[in-house]
C-alpha cells in the first residue's frame, strides 16, 4: 500500500459517494421539484456554495466551537487518563468509583446542562464541560481495559524487581495500555466537535451575536437554509478529522517501533 494509493482510495470512494448523492438528489428533484430537493437533500455543489457564501460568519462560529472542542477534548483525555490510572491502581478504588463514573457518563446532557449553566455559567465554560462529559468515558473505558489486560508475566517481572505500584503503572501498564488509550482518544476525538455543538445547543450563549456552530445550526434551521446547515456539518466533520488526524499521528509516533497495529498494516 503505497502513499499514492493511500490518498487515491478514499478519493475514489468519495467520488463514488458523491455520485450516489447526486443521483439521489436528482431523482428526488425530478419527483418533488428542485425547490423541495434543495431543502431536503441539497446537491453537494449547493453545500460548497453555501460554505463559501457564509465563510465569514462560519469562520467565527467555527473558531469558537473549535476552541470549546479542543479544551473539552484535552480535558477529557487528560482526566480520563489520570482517572484510569487511579482506577487501575487498586481494586477497591475501582470498585468504589467505577459505578459513579458510569452514572456521570450516562446522565443525559439535557439534564446536566442546566446544572452546568447554573454552577459554572452560560457559554464557553458550560460548553467545554459538556464536551468533556461526552468524551471522557471512552478514554476511561479503553485505558482501564488496557491497564488491566497487562501481561501477567511482565507483572511478575516487575514484582521481582520490587517495583512500586507507581513504577508498575508508569513503566509497565501505561505503555502496555497505550494502544487502548489511543483508541479511546480517537473516539473522544470524533465526539469532541459534536459534543461542543451539543453544548452550544444546550448551554450556548449568543451574546454579542457570536455563537458557535450549534448557534448557526439553529439559525440556519429556523431560516430553512438547508445547504448552509449541511455546511455546518461539513465544518464539524472537518474539525473531527483534525482531532482524529492528530491522534493518528500520535498513534504512529508512539507505537511505530513496536506495536503490531502500526507495524503490520498502515493505520487508519
Amino acid at each position: 500500500m503505497n502513499k499514492l494509493k493511500a490518498i487515491f482510495l478514499p478519493f475514489i470512494s468519495g467520488i463514488l459517494l458523491l455520485g450516489i448523492w447526486y443521483s439521489v438528489a436528482f431523482v428526488y428533484a425530478k419527483n418533488e421539484g428542485y425547490e423541495v430537493q434543495r431543502i431536503v437533500i441539497p446537491f453537494p455543489h449547493q453545500i460548497v456554495e453555501a460554505l463559501w457564501d457564509e465563510r465569514a460568519i462560519l469562520w467565527i462560529a467555527t473558531r469558537q466551537t473549535a476552541f470549546a472542542a479542543l479544551v473539552g477534548f484535552i480535558a477529557a483525555v487528560t482526566f480520563g487518563y489520570v482517572l484510569s490510572m487511579l482506577l487501575a491502581s487498586a481494586v477497591w478504588v475501582k470498585r468504589s468509583l467505577y459505578p459513579w463514573i458510569l452514572v456521570l457518563q450516562m446522565t443525559p446532557v439535557v439534564v446536566l446542562a442546566p446544572i452546568f449553566v447554573l454552577w459554572i455559567g452560560q457559554g464557553l465554560p458550560s460548553i467545554t464541560a459538556i464536551t468533556f462529559m461526552i468524551g471522557f468515558f471512552p478514554v476511561v473505558a479503553n485505558t482501564t481495559m488496557g491497564l488491566i489486560s497487562t501481561d501477567r508475566n511482565l507483572i511478575e517481572l516487575f514484582e521481582m524487581s520490587n517495583a512500586s505500584k507507581t513504577q508498575e503503572i508508569a513503566y509497565l501498564r501505561v505503555p502496555y495500555a497505550m494502544p487502548y488509550f489511543l483508541t479511546g482518544m480517537k473516539i473522544a476525538g470524533t465526539l469532541a466537535p459534536i459534543g461542543a455543538i451539543a453544548g452550544d445547543l444546550f448551554a450556548g450563549s449568543s451574546q454579542g451575536g457570536v455563537g458557535g456552530i450549534g448557534f448557526m445550526v439553529i439559525l440556519y434551521n429556523s431560516q430553512v437554509k438547508v445547504p448552509e446547515l449541511f455546511a455546518t456539518a461539513f465544518v464539524a466533520c472537518f474539525l473531527g478529522f483534525i482531532f482524529v488526524g492528530c491522534v493518528n499521528w500520535l498513534h504512529w509516533m508512539l507505537l511505530k517501533n513496536w506495536h503490531e497495529s502500526v507495524r503490520a498494516t498502515d493505520i487508519e
Partner: protein
C-alpha cells in the same frame, strides 16, 4: 443568589434581562428601551442576554443569575405553581404570536380539523391540551426541530409557529402558508416579564422602573423610529435582515399583539381577571395541580400607575 443588594455604577442600577430566544423583533421593545436610553432615564443599566433553545430563564431568574426574564404567561404560571419562586411583574404582549402553521392547500382549515393529526410543537404544551379539550379532539405531538424543511417538503405537515416569523421564510421559499392563531381559539395568554420573589420584595422600585421603562420601550418600538434598536438586534443575530424585522413588526401591529384588541392602547397591562381566567383554564386542564391566584402570581402593584388605573376602570 437572588440579588438582594443591587450593584450600581454612575448611579445606575445594573440589571440583566434574559430573553427566550436570539435577538429578534419580538424583543424589540426591550432593545428600544436600551437604545433610546429609557432604562437610563429610570436609573437602570440593563444588559439583554439573548436566549436560545435552552434559555433556562426561570432557573436563572430564581437563582439570581439574572434579574428579569420574559416568557409566555402560561409557562410562567406553571413554573411558579411548581414552586419556582418567581413573580410576574408586567406584560409586553397582550396576545401571544403562537400559531398553527399550515399550507394553503392543507385539508385543515380550523382547529376542529386538527383531530387525529400530528403537530410539531413543544411536548406537553398547554395550548395543545386546551385545543383538545375545547374542541374535543386528539392531537399527536412531536418535538420541534427548529427547522421548516419538513414542513416545506410535506403539504400536509403541521407545526407551531410565530405568526411574526415562520410565514416569512415559508413565503420566501415559494410556498403559501396559512395560520391559525392560538389566541383565536380562546386560549389567550399574555407574554410577560417576571423576576424572582426575593428581588421583587427587596427592590420594588427597581422592578417598577424596569416595567415602566420596558413598556415605554415597546410603545416607542411600535410607533417608531426604531433604527437604533434594530441595529442592536442585527448585531446580536447575524442572520437578521431589515426586511425580516419589518415583516415581524408588521405582523405584531396587524394582529394587535402588543397593544391588544381594545381600542385603547393596553401595552404592558395585566388584567387580573383575564389572568385568573387563564389560571383557571390551566387548572381545569390539569396542567397545574393546585388552584393559585392571579393576585399572588401576578400582582399589579409593579405596573405603572396609569396602567393600574386602567384596571380600576374595568
Amino acid at each position: 443568589a437572588p440579588t438582594e443588594q443591587v450593584s450600581s455604577t454612575n448611579g445606575l442600577v445594573k440589571v440583566t434581562l434574559q430573553t427566550d430566544w436570539y435577538a429578534q423583533a419580538e424583543h424589540g421593545g426591550f432593545y428600544q428601551a436600551v437604545a433610546e436610553g429609557y432604562y437610563e432615564d429610570f436609573g437602570l443599566d440593563v444588559t439583554i442576554l439573548p436566549g436560545g433553545p435552552n434559555a433556562m430563564a426561570a432557573q436563572k431568574t430564581a437563582t439570581g443569575k439574572v434579574e428579569f426574564a420574559i416568557g409566555r404567561a402560561d409557562d410562567v404560571v406553571l413554573q411558579a405553581s411548581n414552586g419556582v419562586p418567581i413573580l410576574i411583574v408586567g406584560s409586553f404582549m397582550q396576545h401571544d404570536p403562537q400559531a398553527i402553521l399550515l399550507h394553503e392547500e392543507s385539508s385543515v382549515n380550523n382547529f376542529e380539523d386538527l383531530d387525529g393529526r400530528s403537530v410539531m410543537t413543544t411536548p406537553g404544551a398547554a395550548m395543545i391540551k386546551y385545543l383538545e379539550k375545547r374542541f374535543d379532539i386528539t392531537i399527536e405531538t412531536m418535538p420541534v426541530d427548529y427547522g421548516m424543511s419538513r414542513f416545506l417538503a410535506d403539504k400536509e405537515f403541521i407545526q407551531q409557529c410565530f405568526i411574526t416569523s415562520e410565514p416569512y421564510y415559508i413565503r420566501k421559499e415559494g410556498a403559501n402558508p396559512k395560520t391559525l392563531l392560538i389566541a383565536d381559539s380562546g386560549y389567550d395568554p399574555y407574554r410577560v416579564m417576571y423576576t424572582s420573589k426575593t428581588f421583587a420584595q427587596k427592590n420594588t422600585d427597581v422592578v417598577k422602573a424596569f416595567v415602566e421603562a420596558s413598556v415605554k420601550g415597546w410603545k416607542s418600538y411600535i410607533a417608531g423610529p426604531r433604527d437604533k434598536a434594530n441595529e442592536v438586534i442585527a448585531k446580536g443575530n447575524p442572520k437578521m435582515t431589515e426586511e425580516f424585522l419589518s415583516y415581524s413588526l408588521n405582523a405584531m401591529i396587524e394582529n394587535q399583539l402588543i397593544s391588544g384588541y381594545q381600542d385603547e392602547d393596553q401595552t404592558g397591562l395585566i388584567d387580573p381577571d383575564r389572568m385568573q381566567a387563564l389560571i383557571d383554564d390551566l387548572f381545569l386542564l390539569g396542567v397545574i395541580e393546585k388552584k393559585v391566584f392571579s393576585r399572588d402570581l401576578a400582582p399589579i402593584s409593579f405596573l405603572p400607575e396609569y396602567l393600574q388605573e386602567m384596571i380600576d376602570l374595568d
